[in-house]
């Protein structure tokens, strides 16, 4: 997927240690999107970067929980600010 490729390029080029994925605007997360997110987490880890997904909507969180989809390998936070705190090791 384009997003994953662009991300890999970016991580390789910048040596960034963290990735924040803001899904505030995402209304639906099905298993396809879920897989994409966990794959991004795995790719980032290969570059020694941690991934935090922020801004998940309550309806989406409830649906994911019911679906039984666990986002392994990525952390989650309420918003980008808190996501940064996690990445900076303050949490």
């Amino acid at each position: 997927m384009r997003l994953q490729e662009d991300l890999a390029d970016e991580l390789s080029a910048t040596g960034a240690r963290g990735v924040i994925i803001d899904i505030t605007g995402v209304e639906i997360v099905d298993s396809f999107i879920g897989r994409m997110l966990t794959t991004i987490g795995s790719v980032s880890r290969l570059f020694d970067a941690e991934t935090v997904i922020v801004g998940m909507r309550p309806a989406v969180a409830i649906t994911l929980t019911e679906l039984g989809l666990s986002l392994n390998g990525v952390r989650t936070a309420m918003n980008a600010e808190k996501g940064l705190e996690i990445l900076n090791g303050r949490s």
């Binding site: 922020v54 998940m56 309550p58 969180a61 409830i62 994911l64 929980t65 019911e66 666990s70 986002l71 952390r75 989650t76 936070a77 309420m78 918003n79 808190k82 996501g83």
Partner: protein, 319 residues
């Protein structure tokens, strides 16, 4: 072989011809039944509408009449259900039309087939009334159940960034959905990082309830919040272990207080005693030099006296 078409036509004609008498008598019977809860004028109005629909249906005047009659009776029954009438009272309102007609035709043997036809039709309508009534009551009951569930699922703020959900009663899948929605909405609204789910009031904790709790914790975590489950009673703890339920990395505590302390420490907060300013010398008016109540050494040798109620004062000493 009954000539249904002709019979119907004759009944319809009879009803039209004796309109005022029948509706009048019908109203009397219904008014007697409702015992003043509905005004005579209101009853007459309702029955006039129904009567004209009944006549239209019997005379097969148009194809819409049947549907309209059903709808009118449905609405009437629901209204009666909402207003607290019994199902019998509601159905009798319909059945008394039979009685009103019977009183008029009883003497003449000619209208027997016609009356039979009407009777069958009204029996059917009476049953319809009962069905509509039941449906209306069920709606009221489920609305009330929903309202009760909503009220008994508060989400409270314990401290900055720490919210609590005290659960009382059962935790079935319907309740769990409500808890998840309210908890997550509150997390977003307050930006809280910590949630305490207190189950002191949950009578039974079995595998299903544990799964619901873990689901709720999982959903909250997706919003970046940390969860603690509190209110684990001794018997509940034994049940959980014997059922082999694993709470994994979800912290559990006996009391809400313990959970609050844990949440506070995770939030990087600490509770410390306030500075002690109770001891004051009666002579110099100076305050005790110790900063905390725990280190205040008000003893016989200490020249200061605590400003407590008299009963707590040490026995008076010289000088």
């Amino acid at each position: 072989m009954m000539d249904v078409g002709g019979t119907k036509g004759r009944m319809a004609a009879y009803l039209r011809d004796h309109h005022d008498k029948v509706v009048g008598r019908w109203s009397d019977l219904v008014v007697a039944g409702v015992r003043g809860r509905i005004s005579r004028a209101e009853v007459r109005r309702e029955l006039e509408d129904l009567y004209s629909l009944v006549v239209r249906v019997i005379s097969d005047a148009d194809e819409h009449a049947r549907g309209e009659l059903r709808a009118a009776l449905d609405e009437l029954s629901r209204a009666r259900a909402r207003d607290g009438f019994s199902p019998r009272e509601t159905a009798l309102g319909v059945f008394s039309l039979k009685e009103a007609v019977y009183e008029l035709v009883a003497d003449s043997a000619e209208m027997v087939p016609e009356y039979l036809l009407l009777s069958r039709m009204i029996d059917d309508l009476g049953l319809l009334t009962v069905e509509a009534y039941s449906a209306a009551r069920e709606t009221i009951i489920s609305d009330q159940a929903a309202a009760m569930m909503e009220l008994s699922t508060p989400v409270v703020r314990l401290w900055d960034g720490i919210i609590a959900v005290p659960l009382v009663g059962t935790l079935d899948s319907a309740r769990t959905q409500l808890v998840m929605e309210k908890l997550l909405d509150t997390l977003v609204a307050t930006g809280a990082d910590h949630a305490v789910i207190d189950i002191t009031g949950v009578a039974t904790v079995d595998t299903e309830v544990a799964q619901h709790l873990l689901k709720t914790v999982g959903a909250a975590r997706l919003l970046g919040a940390d969860c603690t489950i509190s209110g684990i009673r001794p018997q509940v703890a034994q049940t959980i272990v014997s059922l082999g339920i694993e709470f994994g990395d979800v912290a559990t505590k006996a009391t809400l207080a313990d959970a609050l302390a844990l949440a506070l420490s995770r939030a990087g907060l600490k509770v410390v005693p306030a500075l002690w300013s109770g001891c004051r010398s009666p002579r110099s008016g100076k305050r005790c030099s110790s900063r905390f109540r725990s280190t205040c050494r008000t003893t016989a040798s200490c020249g200061y006296r605590r400003t407590w109620p008299t009963s707590f004062l040490p026995p008076a000493r010289a000088g």
